[in-house]
């Protein structure tokens, strides 16, 4: 009983599992190059380029965890995900 | 007997007039000699569905009325010397952000804690220049309760018309004295309501773009238009800017909207001015004694008159100069060390004609005091 997950967690888990990356959009004009997204990305997807702007280096490793988007102080990152349902209709 | 005839303290009259003018929100903090205004509003406002709040200090009181005014309410606070000093910063905010509000300062003796229960008119220049930066301000005053009523209503009307704070500068004598007052019937004194924008929702609204006549139609906070309000120099949408052209334009606008309307804002009363050789200039409670002296001396055939100022700021320099042109002596009667005296000297030609009759000891200036000073001026001794 103790370990029964709450229903919303189950739902979240299902969605998380099925989410796939469509695109990581980085607004270069807004990015100030603090490297927070680079450092805290669990899949090392992002890097900073010569102009100190975040760039997507390994999109295939993205787990769509959204950590970069949520922690970006410049509101410069948007992780666009695709749910299988949407893809089917799209 | 008429129901509207009352025997009230000046502070009570101010409350009655504020309600007449449509006061909806009051925030304040107790301080002598203005406290009765807060006490009375704590009783009256909730009974009429209005809002009364006692804040933690005068700073917060002033800030709270500005916030409430933005949402479209007619607002007021009341205080005295030390509290008025605390309000200066937010007074500047209301000037900069063009937010209508009325601040009553029932003057007491200063500086500092001074004489809480003693009369003084020492805040005339503070009312003008207490907050920092170039700015314009409207300051009204009154010498009797009928005028307290009228000036209080006018204070609200001018605040709403020019989107600016208006200071009602009363004094301890006026605030605490009881005398007869006739409360006007509804409609007897015009009440100005806020000019609101006619711009429809979804259309770009410029809260800080003055019309050709200098007036700014407002949109209530919480209404259909979302905008920014700041104490920084701002553009026509209200957003901060350091653009010299916009800074210049806004500072000019804030000053011009008052300066260009002196004739509308100025209020003064004159008694026997036309042939007067000696003109007394006074305001507030001092003007009562001055008027008494004028009546007494006129009865004896002396050519003396009184110019009673009701608008202290913007100071009516031109009007005072015109009225005083033919006078041999101009005697400013006030309870300070010559704050209005300075303005009158600036206003008139041959400023050597201007003299001061004052008291600064926390005691009300009496007709005898003025008479003695006039005798000294005329070389007759006391």
């Amino acid at each position: 009983m103790k370990h029964t997950p709450k229903p919303d967690m189950v739902l979240k888990g299902i969605f998380m599992a099925k989410k796939t990356l469509k695109e990581i959009r980085i607004n270069r004009a807004w990015c100030k190059g603090c490297r927070i997204c680079v450092h805290f990305c669990p899949g090392q997807v992002l890097e900073c380029d010569a102009q100190d702007k975040a760039v997507v280096q390994r999109p295939q490793d993205c787990t769509c965890c959204m950590e970069c988007e949520l922690r970006c102080p410049d509101l410069a990152i948007e992780v666009i995900v695709e749910h299988p349902k949407e893809a089917a209709h799209g | 007997m008429d129901d509207n005839v009352r025997f009230l303290q000046g502070n009570d009259v101010c409350v009655q007039a504020a309600l007449y003018a449509g006061l909806e929100f009051f925030a304040g903090y107790p301080i002598t000699p203005s406290t009765e205004i807060a006490e009375n509003l704590a009783y009256h406002l909730p009974r009429q569905g209005g809002k009364f709040i006692q804040m933690e200090d005068e700073i917060a009181s002033m800030c709270a009325i500005i916030g409430a005014s933005l949402t479209g309410r007619k607002v007021m606070t009341a205080t005295s010397g030390p509290g008025f000093s605390l309000m200066q910063e937010s007074l500047g905010f209301a000037i900069m952000a063009e937010i209508p509000c009325v601040i009553v300062n029932v003057q007491r003796g200063g500086p500092s804690t001074g004489l809480p229960t003693g009369p003084s008119q020492g805040d005339v220049l503070q009312a003008r220049w207490g907050t920092h930066g170039d700015h314009a301000i409207i300051v009204l005053t009154a010498s009797n309760h009928q005028d307290v009523f009228r000036m209080t209503v006018d204070a609200f009307n001018l605040a709403e018309t020019y989107r600016t704070p208006v200071i009602l500068l009363l004094d301890e004598v006026i605030g605490h004295m009881r005398e007869k007052v006739i409360l006007p019937e509804k409609g007897a004194i015009p009440v100005v309501d806020r000019l609101r924008t006619s711009v429809k929702a979804g259309i770009d609204y410029h809260p800080y773009l003055p019309r050709e006549d200098g007036r700014l139609p407002m949109s209530d906070f919480g209404g259909e238009h979302r905008y920014h309000v700041t104490g920084l120099f701002h553009d026509m949408w209200g957003f901060p800017t350091t653009n010299p052209k916009i800074v210049h334009g806004l500072l000019r606008h804030l000053n011009d909207k008052i300066k260009n309307n002196i004739s509308d804002i100025n209020r003064m009363k004159e008694y026997f001015i036309d042939d007067a050789r000696t003109i007394l200039i006074s305001y507030g409670s001092s003007a009562r004694s001055a008027l008494h002296v004028v009546h007494n001396r006129r009865a004896r055939g002396e050519r003396i008159g009184l110019l009673e100022l009701q608008t202290l700021w913007p100071f009516p320099y031109t009007q005072v100069a015109e009225k005083c042109e033919k006078a041999r002596q101009i005697v400013v009667v006030e309870m300070n060390m010559g704050q209005v005296l300075l303005q009158v000297k600036r206003a008139v030609s041959r400023p050597e004609r201007v003299m001061l009759a004052n008291r600064i000891d926390g005691v009300f200036i009496t007709p005898t005091d003025i008479r003695n000073i006039l005798r000294l001026i005329h070389g007759k001794g006391v």
């Binding site: 004009a29 807004w30 990015c31 100030k32 190059g33 603090c34 490297r35 927070i36 450092h39 805290f40 950590e67 949520l70 922690r71 970006c72 102080p73 410049d74 509101l75 410069a76 | 909806e24 929100f25 925030a27 909730p46 009974r47 009429q48 569905g49 809002k51 709040i53 804040m55 933690e56 200090d57 700073i59 917060a60 009181s61 800030c63 709270a64 009325i65 500005i66 916030g67 409430a68 005014s69 933005l70 949402t71 479209g72 309410r73 607002v75 910063e89 937010s90 905010f93 906070f221 919480g222 209404g223 259909e224 979302r226 905008y227 920014h228 309000v229 700041t230 104490g231 957003f239 901060p240």
Partner: protein, 269 residues
């Protein structure tokens, strides 16, 4: 509505420094507002002066950028006048608790329905790095060149003692927690206080040799722990995060309205 619809894009990139925690607060705040589905016209944000207070310029709601320390007093006027509006008051640590300390405790005491955010970066950033009432002893600042001897407030304890009916703490590292706490705080009926530990790499970080924004976020990660956790029991110096107070208490504006209704029922009005 998309998250980005809540911001005034024409003012971006914002004025905050590289890696400033206040941007993360803005990021979480608009997500919380969006997830709660609050209409932009129903929301008022009131701020004071400082780096933190510039947040109001970026959010597309009714925004009032006031005086240093006075945001809560202005907000009290807005809320009392129009209780149906939601009011959020983002403040800096000096703004909220030095110059604005009196308004802070009295707003808490009144339990007036608004959400006070203390964006705590332990420093005055806008003026160039002076110590604040949340810096604490030992901290280096331009006005404490030999180390600060001034003790800091504990915002959570202060707000609790003053009577706030919702009190929480989180950090800019813990963005999921921040969003969920902000949602609860904004939904709470009464005075809610959320302390958000936020990094100032430019002044606090540099002065105190804490590294850049990344290092400072790592510090929040390693030096804070969930409220009541074992980690905190083992090491009481670990700063606790979470919701510390959440109580239903009479709210000021509702009580005032009740008073007005009672007077009207008595026919006294």
């Amino acid at each position: 509505m998309a998250v980005q619809d809540y911001i005034r894009k024409r003012f971006f990139p914002h004025l905050w420094c590289q890696g400033c925690g206040h941007g993360i607060v803005l990021n979480s705040l608009i997500r919380a507002i969006e997830e709660l589905g609050i209409r932009k016209n129903d929301l008022v944000m009131v701020s004071g002066i400082g780096c933190s207070s510039r947040i109001t310029g970026y959010v597309d709601v009714h925004t009032l950028h006031t005086l240093h320390g006075r945001a809560l007093a202005f907000a009290t006027g807005v809320k009392m006048s129009r209780p149906e509006l939601r009011v959020i008051v983002p403040m800096g640590d000096g703004d909220a608790l030095a110059i604005g300390g009196n308004h802070f405790i009295h707003s808490a005491r009144r339990n007036i329905d608004m959400t006070a955010l203390v964006m705590n970066n332990q420093i005055y950033g806008m003026t160039g790095g002076q110590f604040s009432p949340l810096s604490g002893p030992g901290v280096k600042a331009t006005t404490a060149p030999f180390g600060n001897i001034d003790h800091g407030f504990d915002v959570v304890k202060l707000a609790t003692a003053a009577g706030a009916s919702f009190v929480a703490r989180t950090t800019t590292y813990h963005v999921h927690q921040m969003i969920s706490i902000l949602k609860e705080a904004i939904s709470h009926k009464g005075f809610s206080v959320v302390e958000i530990m936020s990094q100032c790499p430019t002044y606090f970080g540099r002065k105190n040799k804490l590294g850049g924004a990344v290092d400072m976020l790592d510090y929040f990660k390693s030096h804070t722990t969930a409220k009541g956790s074992d980690a905190h029991k083992k090491d009481p110096l670990m700063i606790e995060r979470g919701i510390f107070v959440k109580e239903d208490r009479p709210e000021y504006c509702s009580d005032y309205d009740m008073l007005v209704k009672e007077l009207q029922l008595k026919g006294d009005a």
